[in-house]
Subunit: 312 residues, 2 copies
DNA sequence: GGTTTCAATCGGTTTTATCGATCATGCTCC
DNA sequence: GGAGCATGATCGATAAAACCGATTGAAACC
């Protein structure tokens, strides 16, 4: 059942195609590929000829290359093909020299500020040849970046949606943060039910911590207050300031408290009693079948160690 | 967040690698790639140098190239990368000229003999430029072939396991086949429960029809008889002969009956009454994200038409 | 109308893939 | 143990291609 070899497009030509789609400009796309505009232009024409298919709307009013529907489809397929080729090279590179080279790590804002100051030195010490690029963003954007290949590894809180391999690291229990002198601070712990009588402040929408906290309290989505008139808290630090200012109470992950989010604010924290230990699960995540999956899993102990409160 | 472009392996070199893994012999692999042995050898050496990784056990006793563990891993990744490149070319080819070129179709043995005599002429008439290669095999092997890229399209019965996109075509209800004069043949239809008192013959293990029939009758797997002393029926035609020989009763799909599986055998068929219309669902199946998915779906009406009993 | 921007084209150069032939090595068999 | 054989690596030459720099043609802008 041998079939005649179909004419495979060259990776270089596919890179030209993808770069043009990314930059929308022959000159800039060429620069991104480190070739001249004439080379990129000729390469695309050759690709069109070899595939015997029109990829670009030629001859029409210019000012921006216009792709045909087929062209757009091929751009998407070219991306996956290039990613597959990179996976080959990356697999070899990892086998040759693990824990080295660039690693693009995405971290959510409710983890990053509290963990990275401890994690980064530990990683530098354990893997000196690793070149760590950081990006802090909301879970959804990080997952999109991971799936698009712009990020290699995520440090986030479960549950989270997306097609990725996840490795749970540690539970991060929620604590109740109260203004100093608040009546709920009399006891060692606060039952979840007691929160329904309080003004519960949470981060603005989009932060996974908001959804996780609502779930922990058994609240339907959107019931908690974001603050007056849509003035929502944008970080845990501002949230603490709002609690200190007597605007309400909130939930804070233990990690943030260990990380010093309270500072000198007049805020008290108490354990939260509820069914099934309210909290979130911190985890690493990467693309399924990533060539570096083994390497990433190998980082887990270092990250988990940095999560321990006593870690320096 | 621009990263230095990793050195991508050339598709040609990856083909050399895959061909060597397939043939286990430099000369034959080179022939399969339509190059000389020296070219293939040099190409693989260049690949090893570019990836800076050992792919083959060099210098040891020869008689057969031995891959390193990394080499084997790279062979697998090279296969997927080449498949992704082919998908680019194939997408363009399909857009340029749909319903043409080679199509490797897998069919299960309980469909093929009864449908293909009607389907093939219809397909030839509707898509004269389509070059149809056929392979008849058990569901499991067909699915493996599809996933490995040796087949493009399957015609099978659901439910079936495997990662593929399926398009249901038509229900294929089961009928009871009885020896002429059998007491159950007195009535127009046979209740499912009545079969438990009969010697139920089914195809040998591996045929999905066996599992589907067992499920239709509410039988646990393996309860039905395959025949005396492991002498199992290997096709529906032999099964009919066994029923005609008074060895027991069986279930036949309507498709096979319409396709003339009974011949002149002294066998009667009756409707089977049971919960939820006992039968199987005939379907097309292809790889998820196949470039030709739209083309395959377009074949469905032609196939469904050939499934109609009245079709010529 | 002149200018600017942008992509396609052209000629020349460098790089690379490939071939055919040869060489090195380890088996096999007498 | 040595001749013969099969297999894969190496070498020099050649043809193909990828790429660059400069130029051209055409639309958009002022």
């Amino acid at each position: 059942m041998l079939l005649p070899t179909p004419h495979l497009p060259s990776p270089q030509q596919l890179r030209y195609l993808v770069a043009l789609a990314d930059h929308g400009h022959f000159g800039r796309a060429a620069a991104a590929c480190a070739v001249t505009q004439s080379t990129l232009s000729a390469g695309l024409i050759a690709l069109e000829r070899q595939l015997a298919a029109g990829l670009l709307e030629r001859g029409t009013s210019v000012k921006r290359p216009v792709f045909t529907p087929l062209g757009l489809e091929l751009v998407a397929r070219a991306r996956t093909a290039l990613a597959a080729l990179e996976a080959v090279a990356e697999t070899a590179a990892m086998a040759r020299d693990p824990h080295s080279g660039p690693l693009r790590l995405g971290v959510i804002p409710t983890i990053g500020p509290f963990l990275l100051p401890r994690l980064m030195p530990a990683l530098r010490a354990a893997y000196p040849r690793l070149r760590l690029w950081l990006r802090e963003d909301l879970t959804d954007r990080l997952v999109a970046g991971l799936e698009a290949g712009r990020l290699d590894l995520l440090l986030l809180a479960l549950p989270a949606a997306g097609t990725m391999e996840t490795l749970p690291l540690a539970e991060d229990p929620f604590r109740v943060a109260l203004p100093r002198g608040h009546h709920l601070a009399d006891r060692d712990s606060v039952p979840v039910g007691a929160l329904s009588g309080e003004r519960l402040l949470l981060l603005e929408d989009g932060h996974c911590l908001r959804a996780h906290a609502e779930a922990a309290c058994g609240l339907p989505r959107g019931l908690a207050h974001s603050g007056e008139e849509g003035f929502a808290a944008t970080s845990l630090h501002t949230l603490v300031q709002m609690v200190a200012g007597n605007l309400g109470v909130t939930l804070l992950p233990q990690l943030a408290i260990d990380g010093g989010v309270l500072g000198n604010s007049p805020v008290e924290v108490r354990r939260l009693d509820g069914a099934a230990a309210p909290g979130r699960m911190l985890a690493l995540a990467w693309r399924p079948r990533s060539p570096r999956a083994a390497e990433f899993a190998g980082l887990a102990p270092t990250v988990a160690a940095a999560l321990e409160p006593g870690a320096t």
